[in-house]
Every structure is written in C-alpha cells, then in structure tokens.
Symmetry: C2
Subunit: 238 residues, 2 copies
Amino acid sequence: MINIEVVLSPALLHLNTIRDTNVVVIDILRATSTICTAIHHGANSVKALMSQSETLEWAEKGYLTAAERNGQKIEGFDLGNSPFECMDGKVNGRSIALTTTNGTKCIEAVANDGARNVFSGSFLNLEAMANFLANDKGDVLLLCAGWKDSVNLEDTLFAGALAHELNNRTDCKIDCDAALMSMDIYQMAKVDLISYLKKSSHYKRLSHLHHEEDMVYCLKHSIFETVCGLKDGEMKKF
Amino acid sequence: MINIEVVLSPALLHLNTIRDTNVVVIDILRATSTICTAIHHGANSVKALMSQSETLEWAEKGYLTAAERNGQKIEGFDLGNSPFECMDGKVNGRSIALTTTNGTKCIEAVANDGARNVFSGSFLNLEAMANFLANDKGDVLLLCAGWKDSVNLEDTLFAGALAHELNNRTDCKIDCDAALMSMDIYQMAKVDLISYLKKSSHYKRLSHLHHEEDMVYCLKHSIFETVCGLKDGEMKKF
C-alpha cells in the first residue's frame, strides 16, 4: 500500500516526512520539464543549484550553465530554462548546472534529507514515472514548487495526474486533503489542460514573455519513457 | 474592482497583504461556524485566544470559557467547540473566551496586522457575508485555517463558495491560483457538500469523535444573516 501525499508549496514541506519516501519535485513550467527533456535528449546529468554565482562556478568543470529568474534567461549563462534549448543535440553528452526561480531550489532543499529517491516530475514522462513508483512500492511525496512559495495551478494539476496514474496501477492510501483536491482538479481539467491553465497566474506571466511554445510542450502527456532522479547529487537517467 | 485572494494555510499567510483588506478567517469544522452561531444566538462577543491558560483567565471577567484541542472539548472549561452548545439561550447575553486547535489562532494572528476588518467565515451566513463584502468594496483575503497548517478540503471549499458569491455580486479580480482552484473545487462539490467532504481527513477525524451532527449543521447554506467581525478585539455582530 503506497501512501501518497501532496505538498502544494515548499513553505508547507516541514509538515511532511521526506525520510524514506520517493519525492517527486514538480515545477511543470518549466524547470523539472526541462530537466527531463535534457536528460532524455542525452545530457549526462543536471545539477540543480540555488544561486547564480554557484552555478557559474560549474563552468570550470566543463558544465553548461543555465539560469532563469522570473521566467527570463539570465545573461552570461549558456542556457535559460526552455526545454527547446535541450533538443537537437545541444546538450548531448554534456552535464548542465541549472538554477531557476522555484524548481531547482526545491530539489536542493530535499536532496539531503534522507529521501528514498528524488525525482524530476513532468507530464512528458508521466506514465514511466507512475510505472516506476508503482513497482518500487515506496511511499510517495509530490512536492509542488509553486511560484515563490505561492500555490500554483500547473504543479497542482500534475500532482493530481500522477496520483491518479499511480492509484490506477496499485493499492494506494490517499488521506491527504491536498492530494484529494489535486486529483479532483486534474479530473476536471484533463480534457484540455491548456485551456484550463490559460487562467493561471504563471501561464499569463510566461505568455507575456512569449513562452507559449514551451508551455504547449510541457503539457504533452507521456511522450517519452526516461525517468530522471538524483544520483550522486545530480539528476540523471534513472 | 475587488481583488480576491485565497490563502490555503496559515503557513502561507506571509505571502499576502493583510493591511487594508477584509480578511475572512475560515475554520468551517468548527471554530468560525461556532463563533457565528454563538453571536447569532445572542452572545455579546467571542474573544479568540491562542492558549488554554489565557482563556481560563477570562472567567474572572464573567466570560464563559470554551476550549477544544484535536476535535475534543477540554476538561475544566464551560464549553467545547460545538455550535449546538451555543443554541437554546445557553450563551444569550454572555461573552465567550474561546481557544481551538486552528481557527482562533488565525484570528489572533491577523487581529493586529492592520486589516480593514477581520470576519468569522461560515456557510451559515454565507450570503450575508458576500453582500457585506460586495457593498464594502475593500479587497478580500480568504484565510483557511486548515489543520495544524495542512491544507484542508472544507475550508478550501468555503473559500471557493464565498469567492463565487462575491464574484456573482460585483466586479472582482481573481488572479490568485489558490482562489481559482478553490472556486473550481466548490463548483464540483456544491451539489452535495457532505458526500464530497466524507473523503476529507477532518471529516473522518470528527466522525470518529461522533461530531456528525455538528458537521451536517456547519455545512448548511445561509440559514441566518448575522455577519460577525472583530470590534475592539472581539468577534461581535457587525
């Protein structure tokens, strides 16, 4: 019986147990979608980092550097936070040091707290992720990165989607109200995720920055099978 | 144009502006429902307090004392946290000092932060509350008390219900994802709130303690018109 809990904001993480659970960090628009894309497209690893200065230092070790704040690429880095920058061989065989507004901070926050595993969540590999978690049988914590600690729709939707997929595959215990809520919202929205998300705060924010193509891509359902999780402190093919 | 924001847990309150907003504190099962019931049934006032010891001190000033922790009445107090203890003349003409697990702490937390007004939210007077807020025109912050800082279904549902009612009455700006989410959940659940809530964590918790009658009562929609808000630090008829 897998216990599933959903944390709607990093500011609520202290209420949950990380130790021995499979934690899935969720920053659908766009950090964790981009990490999965990079690894699926041949990147060796993605190192998630809190600060820009720390991220730049990894260039010396041969890493590509990538940074985003408030939805925009930061000057002086090789890449921003768009999944399209990780396709067409651009990251093949490379390692990437990435810092973003929300998602990478969450990965760093849980990396050393004794989790069973820490995964990068995305719609792009949703079924593969659910298969892995169902087979592993460890309890699951779905951690929404949100926007600067505020709850957001797209991460909540994904938490609901993954909880559904997992619950369809194996016996689960779902007593957490945030999990029940996210599953119901996903049920309501799933026929057309993009239309549903158009009312959300971050969709509007990214639309103003002309990231529509990124958003359409990040909501594609199970287009690849690569599962990405932390190994030796970096996101790698799992 | 009234800006509506929803805070799904007191632990997220620091992300929002309290100053000059109409804050509605929401602890549907049962503190804020009980406060509204007491005042509707003739109580002069309800003083919300953090601690049990502080609450007991108000007996000297002639207050009835009321205390609940983890869903149960505390020995040594006149009342617990059930709305039925406030009916049939039991609190008529009296003032009450009340401490509960979640709701009263939220009221105390926002009482001195420069809010325009602080109200006690309940389904029991939902339409009257919406009418007041629509006429007042101040921005609105709906603060869910949750359960020990965890997000809960019943408070989220009420936030969604009040946001709907308000949005139906006047021009509102709703950019907050938590507000959009709670409105959608309410739309889904409103045909039968009790059936919907039966899956929630707190409904189960209170069911085990035989509070079913309280829960059925607390979900009744607009059965009275009394609006309750802070005046001189105590909840009173507004």
